[in-house]
């Protein structure tokens, strides 16, 4: 589904990501963990087309994304939920969801909205509330829902657990598993190793812009020393 090879990102003289390789197959849940400043968010931004990589190739469903502008990537089936949730704080929940389906003019938006309300019933209750006034957990549910309004092939989540209570994180984790059951590929970029390990099939561990380890969730969690040192 997604193939990242040799991805390199620079800010001026500063090397944020150096020759990153990640492969994600269809229907997988793949985690990317690493400490602050490891280059995770830069990688997500490159996926979204918000920054131009210095080198490397990103291919989505076999297609090179290099020439595809940011706003067209969602129509290819790649939906990204950025760090900090990427919701529109002064819009209502419903307006946010409509923005989620912005690129899909012909789609049955009411039906899509019903499906995300099924996934997160609390959002249906709050549909007229301004998104910025909801709790952090509800905002994160909204962010994921916006990503799903595109009915994507693959969803990328950047730090969905940031600043959330453990019980809410658990709920998010359950939602991810239901997504996989629905056939959506998930790329979970996280600092929270527990959440990632709970839901992912495979995990990439990233530090200082490169992949340090790569393996199944069990392999990675077993190596607790390394995780402790990293996170």
């Amino acid at each position: 589904m997604l193939e990242i090879s040799g991805l390199t990102i620079r800010y001026g003289a500063f090397l944020a990501v150096g020759s990153l390789d990640i492969v994600i197959g269809k229907g997988d849940i793949v985690g990317l963990i690493g400490p602050n400043g490891a280059g995770k968010t830069s990688t997500v931004k490159a996926l979204g087309g918000l920054i131009k990589p210095a080198a490397g190739r990103i291919a989505f469903r076999g297609r090179d994304l290099a020439g595809v502008p940011a706003h067209e990537r969602i129509t290819l089936g790649l939906s990204i939920v950025p760090e900090g949730r990427g919701i529109f704080a002064r819009m209502s929940v419903e307006e946010n969801l409509l923005m989620g389906a912005y690129a899909f003019d012909g789609a049955d938006k009411a039906a899509r909205m019903r499906r995300v309300y099924d996934l997160f019933p609390i959002l249906a209750e709050r549909r007229w509330q301004a998104a910025g006034t909801m709790s952090g957990g509800q905002q994160q549910m909204l962010a994921v829902s916006m990503g799903l309004m595109a009915e994507p092939e693959m969803i990328v989540l950047d730090e969905p657990s940031l600043g959330l209570a453990p019980i809410v994180i658990e709920e998010i984790g359950k939602a991810l598993i239901r997504l996989r059951e629905a056939g959506v590929t998930v790329f979970l970029v996280e600092q929270n190793a527990t959440l990632t390990a709970d839901v992912s099939d495979r995990i990439y561990v990233m530090s200082n812009g490169t992949v340090l380890h790569h393996g199944t969730a069990e392999e990675i969690t077993r190596n607790e020393d390394m995780l402790g040192a990293l996170l």
Partner: protein
């Protein structure tokens, strides 16, 4: 009867000025909110619309309504041309609000120079023939139908602007870009296209404000700067990028001017709303309706 007369005329004036201030400030805030352009030339665009209306209605003898539609319509290709030639060069420039401010000062200078050697030698007062004849009594207060029509049109335009921003797909996209442009882009919004749309829409609203002003009042070339300053003041108080703030504060400005000048003096009114701006900033530096 006299008290009632003054009271109703105050309300009418507040609404009339409020609608014009709101339109211009909304236009300015739409452009600032999207591309971070503090357009110092907005007063000149406002005046350009008023003068163009005058040319079309007086010099060419078109029907005022036709002339008004023509002028407001012409603002679209004019804005697109300006966007194509200059504005889009700075979309990705760091510190672009400073660049845009300089740019808009250059545009101000050019337009002021052109007006001064064209319209400036023609007269020092411009007046559009009335939209319609006659007087309507609001209680004891007589008001010309022409100004009443300008007021109603202005309210309708504000309502249409709100409806567009709230219920139309592109209106939502404009607001999304104001609030979080990266997120909007990830949701499939072509941010540069929205920039272009906002620039056109903002100027269109400013031009509509100029046209309505010209129907409601006689004007001269000096109206441009005072309108620029007023629009900036409204935008700052309302919170830059907030159309609701621009309209709410625009209305407050209109009513302040009307009420204070009715019960104190017009001079006190001018000082008072500029003074109020400083006070509000002291208490809430980000503006009343800021995110």
């Amino acid at each position: 009867m006299p008290t009632e007369l003054v009271l109703i005329s105050t309300l009418f004036t507040g609404l009339m000025l409020g609608v014009i201030f709101s339109l211009v400030a909304a236009g300015v805030t739409i452009i600032y909110g999207s591309i971070w352009m503090p357009n110092a030339a907005n007063g000149q665009f406002f005046l350009l619309a008023a003068l163009a209306l005058w040319s079309a209605a007086v010099s060419w003898g078109l029907h005022p309504v036709v002339a008004a539609l023509l002028v407001i319509g012409a603002s679209v290709p004019a804005s697109l041309l300006l966007e194509q030639m200059l504005i889009r060069r700075f979309y990705d420039v760091p510190n672009r609000n400073v660049s845009y401010f300089v740019l808009s000062l250059g545009i101000t200078q050019i337009l002021a120079g052109l007006f001064s050697v064209t319209y400036g030698v023609w007269s020092d007062q411009f007046q559009i023939p009335p939209l319609m004849a006659g007087i309507t009594f609001l209680g004891p207060f007589p008001v010309s139908n022409s100004r009443l029509a300008a007021l109603v049109t202005g309210v309708a335009l504000l309502a249409a602007l709100f409806a567009l921003l709230r219920y139309h797909k592109y209106g939502r996209a404009i607001r999304a870009v104001f609030q979080n442009r990266d997120a909007a882009s990830l949701r499939g919004v072509n941010v540069r296209a929205i920039y272009r749309l906002s620039f056109v829409l903002g100027n269109l609203v400013v031009a509509a404000g100029g046209v309505l002003y010209a129907f409601a009042y006689s004007f001269d070339l000096s109206v441009s700067w005072s309108m620029s300053i007023t629009a900036f003041a409204i935008m700052i108080i309302g919170g830059p990028g907030s159309v609701v703030g621009a309209v709410a504060v625009g209305m407050v400005f209109g009513f302040t001017q009307a009420i204070v000048s009715a019960f104190a003096s017009p001079t006190v009114a001018t000082f008072s709303y500029l003074g109020a701006m400083l006070l509000i900033l002291l208490m809430k530096p980000s503006g009343l309706f800021a995110r």
